[in-house]
Amino acid sequence: MLVKVTLELLAGFRYNLIVFFATLVFAIPLGMVITFGEMSPIRPIRAFFRLAVWLIRGMPLMLQLFIVLYVPGLVFGMPFRQRLTAALIAFSVNYAAYFAEIYRGAIESIPPGQWEAGKVLGLSRSKVFFHIILFQVVRRSLPALGNEFITLVKDTSLARVIAVPEMLMKATEFTMKGLIWPLFYSGLFYLVATAALEVLFKRLERRFAHG
């Protein structure tokens, strides 16, 4: 029975991993775009991105999953058929908004003297950003990003609300058949994943020790 349950849960956990990695792939760069938008010198662009971040962070992720799944059908008559795709969009946009705030905080915490030292050495603004500032932004973002990554692992279980057959959904199916322990057993998978992330971030923080 343990093997059967484990295999079933692993089949579900595959979806959690897909949502996790795809969200990171899209949200990490999208977050940077939002950060630049929020810090734009052009006021309407800045206002647009700040409003977007407020809307995204102000609503539950669960609600956003429903919005992405149902609104295209209700408004444009084009319902989403791919539930996994809907989940990926909702997760990516939601996490991008949080990442953007982390990046913005990190960029604003870089002493202006770093920009000025680059300028005095004759470097353009983009060269200063990519060769001097970015590394320090990553360094300063790492602890907060580590937290978000761990939260994301656990949040992937929310995908079940739009019927993505992730691990917790599989565990609940066992419960409905009168078997409760797979539900608690599924916690072990999350613990292993979050422990791996903690090790990864400790290593990254050592790698980025100077900065």
């Binding site: 030292a117 005095v120 050495l121 980025f208």
Partner: protein, 230 residues
């Protein structure tokens, strides 16, 4: 020769720098003394392109700046701090130090015969030479957070010298240093003075007495050369 003519910087009609005029010859050192808020740092920032003058002219030279708090790049070693800008700007150091030129050129030639494969433009060799010159040859691979205040400042000086400025500016070079390190710094500046025009902004009268060819007082944005400095 560097010439600064009627240089002004105003913020909301208040002059931080008020019609400043001076000239500086090659190899001369100008020391500017003044209270906090008198406009000294704003003047240095304008000379180095960090502030746009409201009016006036700066002509006849390129500048380098050693910041009060050094502003080294923490993710690069001492050597990396020196090499970053020359590498990105593709400066050519193969002829620097010869009789032909004393400042680096912009390279158009990627693979000239005789250049090392790992250091084709001689950037690393010159950076190591400058670190030796400021007494930090053994610290080339240390990161800024592994260096003392005086060592950081010496890296900052070497970094500014990498680009071969005509005039090297110092913003309060001794304010963050203890007395022992201050006297070491004054010695380095004294050596540097032999071959480099400098503008030093300081509160330290000893530094002024030791190093100045020209002395000036800055007060309320005005620079005066005829005030007697004790």
């Amino acid at each position: 020769m560097l010439e600064v003519k009627d240089l002004c910087k105003s913020f909301k009609n208040i002059y931080a720098v008020d019609h400043v005029n001076f000239t500086l010859d090659r190899g001369e050192t100008l020391v500017i003394i003044g209270q906090s808020g008198s406009g000294k740092t704003t003047l240095l920032r304008m000379l180095n392109g960090l502030e746009t003058p409201t009016s006036g002219e700066i002509s006849g030279g390129t500048f380098g700046l050693v910041f009060q708090d050094f502003n080294l790049f923490p993710q690069y070693t001492a050597l990396g701090n020196l090499m970053l800008a020359p590498r990105l700007l593709r400066r050519d150091y193969r002829k620097v130090g010869t009789s032909e030129t004393s400042s680096p050129a912009v390279s158009s030639d990627r693979n000239s015969p005789g250049s090392s494969r790992t250091d084709p433009l001689g950037i690393e060799a010159y950076a190591r030479q400058l670190l030796e010159k400021v007494g930090l040859g053994a610290k080339a691979d240390d990161y800024p957070d592994e260096l003392s205040g005086g060592q950081k400042q010496r890296v900052a000086i070497a970094r500014a010298l990498m680009l071969g400025p005509d005039v090297l500016c110092f913003d309060e070079p001794t304010s963050a240093l203890d007395p022992q390190t201050t006297s070491e710094m004054v010695e380095i500046l004294r050596q540097l003075k032999k071959e480099q025009a400098m503008i030093i902004v300081t509160h330290n009268m000893d530094v002024c007495a030791e190093l100045a060819d020209k002395k000036a007082v800055m007060q309320d944005g005005r620079l005066s050369f005829d005030t007697i400095i004790a």
